[in-house]
């Protein structure tokens, strides 16, 4: 690997590490925001693996985050606590308990399995039909997790999950997601998926099965999403509606603002948007900026985020990074422009 290639992975990784280090030096009250940001990085990178590489919009990825969270949560709550907080839980789930790392691995496995199950039929679709179909997956997952008491707490928050996601676990989890995403996009499979994004007809003519490549990307995206969900549930008591439309919107906003065409865009978007979001969330309790106290009404963060995303979409539809990876100066390679490639009718 040349220095040039190395920079493509090292810069996003360094951003994650820098966030973690910053999170270590601030007060424990502020550290919660950094932990949350690192989880969001993992989720957005999982989104990027499918949406970024294939160019197909998916609203369904958060359902794999939810399934991962449910898996890791149900399997790590102590048994006696499960009998109290989740009385309807299936017997086998009550008696099965695993450790932190196993639960994360299982969360990733469940996410991948669910993505394959959903992707087998859905990856035939593209465009709007794919968007609505993945939305249907989100709706079904949310509906089932809300009412099915045999596999989780239903509408209640997950309580009693060991809080093992500290700053290190969050950071290493984020790095694992970044590493997998980068490794994937450097393999021939990643390249083939990107080829189908740029020109489906030419890709098909070169012998690429669009269906198979998208399915593979979807499965990896599901695995990372499940893994991120596992990290998330070990951080704070989650509720099913916290893993639904709002999270879908916020993570999509991060990906689009950062630039959905590159891994760097996913990481930068997650950090920038969650930074702004966290700032305004913190400001509802008042923050001091150079001695000037700022207090905003709650809900301001969401409004700022909505405006920011709309403005970025209008001014820079390819995101802050323009969908490019980090590149060292000199000898810039032209990168195919998504917007120009897809001539609107």
């Amino acid at each position: 690997m040349t220095l040039r290639r190395l920079a493509e992975i090292l810069v996003p990784a360094a951003l994650v590490v820098a966030t973690a280090l910053l999170g270590l030096v601030v007060s424990s009250y502020l550290q919660a925001y950094f932990l949350d940001t690192l989880i969001k990085v993992s989720i957005v990178v999982a989104l990027y693996v499918f949406i970024g590489n294939s160019g197909v919009l998916s609203f369904g990825t958060i359902s794999f985050v939810a399934l991962g969270a449910w898996t890791a949560g149900v399997l790590t709550v102590p048994e006696e606590q499960k009998r109290i907080t989740m009385p309807g839980l299936a017997h086998v789930l009550v008696t099965t308990n695993v450790g932190n790392y196993t639960s994360l691995a299982l969360a990733a496995a469940v996410g991948a399995a669910a993505a394959v199950a959903a992707g087998l039929p859905l990856m035939r679709l593209s465009g709007l039909a794919a968007g609505i179909a993945t939305f249907a997956v989100l709706e079904i997952t949310n509906n089932v997790l809300t009412y099915e008491q045999r596999i989780g707490p239903g509408l209640n928050a997950f309580s009693g999950v060991p809080q093992t996601t500290g700053i290190w676990q969050a950071a290493i989890g984020g790095l694992i997601c970044v590493a997998f995403a980068y490794a994937y996009q450097r393999t021939r499979f990643g390249r083939m998926t990107r080829a189908t994004r740029e020109d489906p007809a030419a890709a098909r003519a070169s012998g690429i099965s669009i269906y198979r490549q998208r399915l593979l990307a979807f499965a990896l995206s599901g695995a990372l999403a499940g893994f991120a969900g596992g990290l998330y549930v070990h951080l704070q008591p989650l509720q099913v509606n916290g893993l639904y439309l709002d999270l879908t919107f916020i993570t999509l906003a991060m990906l689009v603002v950062g630039g959905s065409g590159s891994l760097l865009g996913a990481v930068v978007g997650a950090l920038a948007v969650n930074g702004i979001y966290s700032f305004f969330s913190a400001a509802t309790n008042g923050v001091d900026i150079f001695g000037w106290n700022l207090t905003v009404p709650s809900g301001t963060a969401e409004i700022v985020l909505g405006v920011l995303m709309t403005v970025v979409l209008i001014l820079r539809p390819n995101g802050i990074t323009g969908g490019r990876e980090f590149s060292l100066p000199r000898r810039r390679r032209p990168v195919a422009d998504l917007e120009k490639a897809r001539v609107p009718t």
Binding site: G55, L57, P121, L122, R124, L125, G127, L128, A129, G131, I132, A133, F135, A136, V137, E139, I140, N142, N143, V144, Y147, L245, D246, F249, L252, A253, V256, P297, S298, G299, T300, E302, I303, L305, G306, V307, M309, T310, L313, I314, P317, L338, E339, R342, P344, T345
Partner: protein, 302 residues
Amino acid sequence: MILGFLNLTWPVFADALALGGIYALMAVGIGLVFGVLRLVNFAYGQLIMAGAFALAYGAQWGLPNWVSILFCFGVVLALSVLMDRLVFRPLRTHSPAVMLVATFAVAFLLQNIALLAFGSLGKTAGALAQLQAPWDIGGVFIRKIAIIAITTAAGCLALLQLLLTRTPVGLHMRAAAMDFRTARILGVRANRVIGVAVLLSGLLAAVSAVLLTVEQTQVTYTFALPETIVVLAGVVVGGLNRPVPATLGGFAIGFAYGLLGGILPTNQSQYLNSFIFAAVIVVLLVRPSGLFTRAGGSVERV
């Protein structure tokens, strides 16, 4: 009783028809804008929410019903024109995916503005609640709102059909929906057809807001959001490209919702969303370009 063993009674049937009618109105509102802009307006539900809040304020200020309904129309129309000018117009040349995400952002924004302005409990729009009372039609008690919703929806759709098929601007809109570029070359004024489509879509949103508040008198920031998601699925299932398939799709999903919600026992109807969306996936797999469109028609553009 039609099918007694399924609990399917005339009132349930009428309510299902009414829900189908309201969903059909929303569907055609979404479909009209899609036709000319190639834009799936996820923020359509927030237009309806704004109208519902206008009705709630009308009730609070003690305005006569017809004045609050006018106020509701004004608010919804103003907001839809504003949305078109500020967001849709600058985004017109972008890809459908970018525009869909943008309307997602607008929906999120409007919802949170409503949350900030009106609180999480929202307001009550109870002025029209007496329409829930039943009418006695030959021994069968059918709620007034069901009949009003069915007739209003049928009337609006008939008027719209006349407008689309019998007036020059309707012809222009259909031409633009078919092929925008060619239509422009042939002298269709882009901004005019888009403006008319946005206005019509806003009108339909206002009508839906009035009809929906009769049933859901508590107006919160999530008002009409679940309905919009279902209608969007229905519209795509029906076929987005043309108003009639879109309307049929909206009607079908609303009717199915109302009917199944009425006849299934609670422990099954809580999974109604899963059934409906599973059906949506199946239909999309079999007919990705829509259930009510002619197969092998124009090239898929989205």
